[in-house]
């Protein structure tokens, strides 16, 4: 007898209890609200009135995939639930999907068409569909004889773009033929992704060897590095940043001939400080890591967080000390919109 795929409603207490109990029996025990709340769809596999498998979708990421192989051909239920999830995503016109899983399950996902982007001892990240990482690399701007040039990269959220970001880009541009500035693509910050990209572009427009591009799903995205956007345990940050660094080192850097990654020193944000440490551990010798000390104004490191706090309070008198004129103009023009986003619950003290 074959199992039936059914949709489960996690806000229904009966389904939720059954789902959580089943996953707990498989050793999956993180049911914190911030993980579970992101789920869009949950499917269950029912055989003889028993739940024998489940999987969920959050955006384009597969989560909480687990099956019981008792009284079944190994792999059959896994394949059935992944098929159903992939089919759901395609019906929703989501053609590129990712999964973040324990390293020991990486092969199971590869058997159903996923490609591994990177793995560590504990975890692995895989993708399927299109556009994939090769397509991502192909659409990036390039220069002639790029393999012989000095190519650097910076990854920034730029929420918003400050004089500190500008200083970091200048330092990289001064010693490089080409600098890729990857702006975090996940839209989970006070400044929307399109706004952040535009302000970085405007703030670096006078530097001809700087290319401002999207980080896509591959650099500090909600798929590979959710802890950047949610306050998380140090162990989770460490695990996720290791994968993020390895995707950069093994996939992006060789394809784009990137030899140096520039980062700003991080005196205040714990998440970013761990990320910097992991980059310094993972990237060399393939890619060297240059830590540029933060620019200071009146003995205080320039921080986008300070700018966000000023936006909240509406006190913009010293704004020009911290941000370039383009960013300052944007903030002044859109102050009420930004303030209403904060009032609607947008957090400004994270990243």
């Amino acid at each position: 007898m074959t199992a039936q795929v059914v949709e489960m409603q996690l806000n229904n207490p009966h389904d939720r209890t059954q789902w959580q109990h089943f996953l707990t029996s498989l050793g999956i025990t993180n049911f914190s609200a911030r993980e579970v709340d992101q789920i869009d769809t949950t499917l269950g596999l029912i055989e003889d009135d028993q739940l024998v498998g489940t999987g969920s979708i959050a955006g384009n990421v597969l989560k909480y995939v687990g099956v019981c192989n008792l009284n079944s051909r190994p792999g059959a239920r896994f394949n059935q639930i992944v098929s159903a999830l992939v089919s759901r995503l395609f019906q929703a016109h989501i053609f590129h999907m990712m999964v973040f899983t324990k390293a020991k399950y990486s092969l199971s996902f590869q058997h159903v068409g996923f490609k591994e982007l990177a793995h560590s001892d504990e975890a692995a990240v895989l993708e399927n569909g299109s556009p994939d990482i090769a397509d991502f690399v192909r659409q990036l701007p390039s220069i002639t004889n790029q393999d012989d040039q000095r190519v650097s990269a910076i990854v920034m959220n730029a929420n918003p773009f400050t004089c500190g970001h500008r200083y970091l880009v200048e330092q990289a541009a001064a010693v490089s033929d080409l600098v890729y500035v990857f702006v975090v693509a996940t839209d989970a910050s006070l400044f929307r992704t399109a706004e952040r990209v535009k302000l970085v572009q405007q703030g670096t427009a006078d530097l001809p060897n700087v290319q401002v591009v999207s980080g896509g799903d591959y650099l500090v995205s909600a798929a590979t590095f959710p802890a950047y956007f949610l306050d998380s345990a140090a162990s989770a940050i460490e695990a996720q940043t290791t994968l993020d660094a390895r995707i950069f080192k093994t996939q992006l850097a060789p394809a784009l001939h990137i030899t140096t990654r520039f980062v700003g020193s991080e005196p205040t944000s714990r998440t970013t400080a761990i990320y910097n440490q992991v980059l310094q551990r993972e990237l060399p010798p393939t890619v060297s890591v240059q830590v540029v000390p933060r620019t200071e104004v009146a003995d205080q490191p320039i921080s986008a967080r300070t700018v966000r706090q000023w936006i909240q309070s509406g006190n913009l008198t010293k704004l020009n000390q911290l941000v370039p004129p383009t960013t300052a103009q944007f903030i002044k023009n859109n102050l009420s919109v930004l303030q209403s986003r904060i009032q609607e619950g947008m957090k400004i003290n994270g990243n």
Partner: protein, 96 residues
């Protein structure tokens, strides 16, 4: 002809094949995953390629995950995926 949207057909269950079609610009490029790729890889790719050619699709990226499908299944899944990608609904009788 090139395809308009990405599309897929089929499942990952035993005796089936999942065919995913994505926009491409370099002929018919097939990326096949199969447990029997040594014995039947060439035959599976041949069935997919001929079916796509009969539908006049000559630029496409194909991701195929085979779980032991027979030729008739491979053909049916390819046609279904192609028609979804081309957004056509009338059956292609001449290909069947």
């Amino acid at each position: 002809m090139e395809i308009k949207t990405s599309a897929f057909a089929g499942t990952l269950e035993s005796s089936d094949i999942q065919i995913m079609l994505m926009a491409g610009d370099n002929g018919i490029q097939i990326d096949l995953e199969s447990d029997v790729i040594k014995q039947f890889g060439a035959q599976i790719k041949h069935v997919i390629t001929t079916t796509l050619q009969q539908l006049n699709i000559d630029n496409v990226k194909v991701r195929a995950v085979d779980k032991g499908a027979l030729d008739c299944v491979i053909k049916a899944r390819t046609i279904a995926a192609a028609q979804r990608a081309l957004e056509t609904t009338t059956p292609a009788w001449e290909v069947l």
